[in-house]
Amino acid sequence: MIRLVKIELFKLYHNRFARILVIIYFLLILSAVLFTSIEVDLTFVKFYFAEQGIFNFPYIWHFNTYMIAILKINLAIVVIYMINNEFVYRTLKQNLIDGLSKRDVLNSKFYTLVLFVISSTLFVFLLTLILGLIYSDYNELQIILTDMEYILAYGVKLLGFFSFCMLLVFLLKRAVIAIGMLIAWYILEKIIRAILNVRLKDDYLLQASDIAQFFPLQSMSNLIAEPFTRFSIVRNIAQQTGNPITKNYDITLLSIVIVLAWTVLFYLWSYRILKKRDL
């Protein structure tokens, strides 16, 4: 296993584009976190994000993981690129002839992808912890530990997304087509959901979201609910306008299981494609 990761990291480390993308990714996370911790000029109101309580434990776990997860697309490009290269340079065939099995090829990509997930999750965990310790109004251990499952959900979200990207490149062989397909798939899910919404409008037992939660991208997005309506200022406005927010922000076991199930499927499907294909 370590050998396979070493092989992949060797390919990536000596590639300038991949190296720069990875560095940019971690710098982006860092600067996003730093950015929110400084004063922001919103033209009308000048306020500290910090004063809105977004850096308070346990809410900070939720806010940071949700925001930083958006940057995952940057790392996904590295995942897509590293598989795309094997097709473009025709080195996949050469690797097989030199002694990797098809399973080895898949695993060297998948393990590396898992390594990305672990690195990113650890980085987010540490940054959030440090940020929280500096700015949070509550620093009791029990409060800090509350809602830590957002970190787990963050990792699962990245794992599912990267695995989906991996499958798309193994299937389509080219980065550009894979990214195009990813976008097309996103739109497709939205369209199906819209159709379901219309169809199930009058159904009291079954809602569109009950079905849509099983869609690959929707299931990843469901892992961490948007945190904005949890803002005290937003809640207050909602309260005053008579529309109190009764949303559930918790991470459900079901949503994690769905994404993990997709990950397993993406992995197995990628293997099937590799195995059946003549190179």
């Binding site: 060797f10 000596h14 340079y89 025709r90 002839i97 002694g99």
Partner: protein, 305 residues
């Protein structure tokens, strides 16, 4: 079961076939590769050479039939450690230097990197070891591929069109290398559509056309026993009488005033001359001609199978 005096069989194909849709790329091909020989897999473009090599190297899934390495004694994953292969075009990471590319191959082959200097010097690329692969000429790329296939000191080398697209100098260098490697006792399977390449380098040849095997045997056998003898004499009738029922001759024919004797067995000019002398027949012209490999190749592949 190998007998003691027979060389071991490194690779054996048993009615291996590959269909791409309705097209039969390789049609029930059987052959064996014995240790120490240099095989040519000869055939025009699209005759199924690369597909065959792809199947035995596990990158193309056979439609039917089977193959086994080392008489099935060791699994493919281990057998592969004893073979080196280069395919069609040299495929390396363009952004890596020559030496980094080979280091990567070492990681994949699980082989130490100490031998890299030796193989790079062997193919005359040591001075360019720190140049990126993308800066190499095709000839250099092909030599790097050869170096890469030699890293694990393979018992057998599979080469697919190694001189394809090279300039004359590059062709010459690569052929010299192949001969040098063969002289060390390495078994070689060389796929090529170039007759003179196979003739110059190989001891044995398998001729493929449309995925079907047309010939299998040694390169010298290919033209031996298929030569003919030309005679000119004043008394042609006597000559015909003499040779018509000769055990080593399949057919006689008069062409442009010359008597042509087609051979079915080995028969030397000396032998003929002796027999003529015994009968006191004198000829003004006596020559044995062996068809070129090209003539033989065309002859063999003309007959449909």
């Amino acid at each position: 079961m190998t007998q003691n005096n027979q060389p071991p069989i490194l690779l054996e194909l048993d009615s291996l076939s590959k269909n791409f849709g309705k097209i039969k790329a390789v049609d029930s091909l059987s052959m064996r590769i014995e240790k120490g020989k240099v095989y040519g897999l000869l055939g025009p473009n699209g005759s199924g050479k690369s597909t065959t090599l792809g199947m035995v190297l596990n990158t193309v899934n056979p439609s039917s039939g089977s193959y086994k390495w080392y008489e099935g004694h060791i699994p493919f994953k281990q057998a592969r450690k004893k073979i080196g292969a280069i395919i069609e075009r040299p495929n390396f990471y363009p952004y890596l230097t020559a030496i980094k590319n080979l280091e990567l191959v070492c990681m994949i082959k699980e082989y130490p990197t100490d031998g890299l200097e030796e193989v790079l010097k062997y193919v005359d690329l040591w001075d360019r070891r720190n140049s990126k692969f993308k800066t190499f000429s095709l000839g250099m790329k092909q030599r790097l591929a050869l170096a890469s296939s030699l890293i694990n000191k393979p018992e057998m080398l599979i080469l697919d069109e190694p001189t394809n697209g090279l300039d004359p100098e590059g062709i010459h260098k690569v052929r010299d290398l192949i001969k040098k490697i063969a002289s060390r006792g390495t078994t070689i399977l060389l796929a090529s559509h170039l007759l003179d390449e196979v003739e110059k380098v190989c001891t044995d040849v398998v001729i493929l056309k449309n995925g079907v095997k047309y010939y299998e045997g040694s390169v010298s056998d290919l033209s031996k026993n298929h030569g003919y003898i030309e005679l000119i004499s004043e008394d042609v009738e006597l000559l015909i009488q003499l040779f018509e029922s000769h055990k080593d001759i399949s057919k006689t024919e008069i062409l442009e005033g010359k008597l042509i004797l087609y051979l079915k067995n080995e028969l030397s000019v000396k032998e003929i001359s002796k027999q003529l002398a015994a009968k006191s027949i004198y000829v003004t012209h006596l020559v044995k001609k062996v068809p070129s490999l090209e003539e033989r190749f065309l002859q063999i592949t003309k007959t449909p199978k």
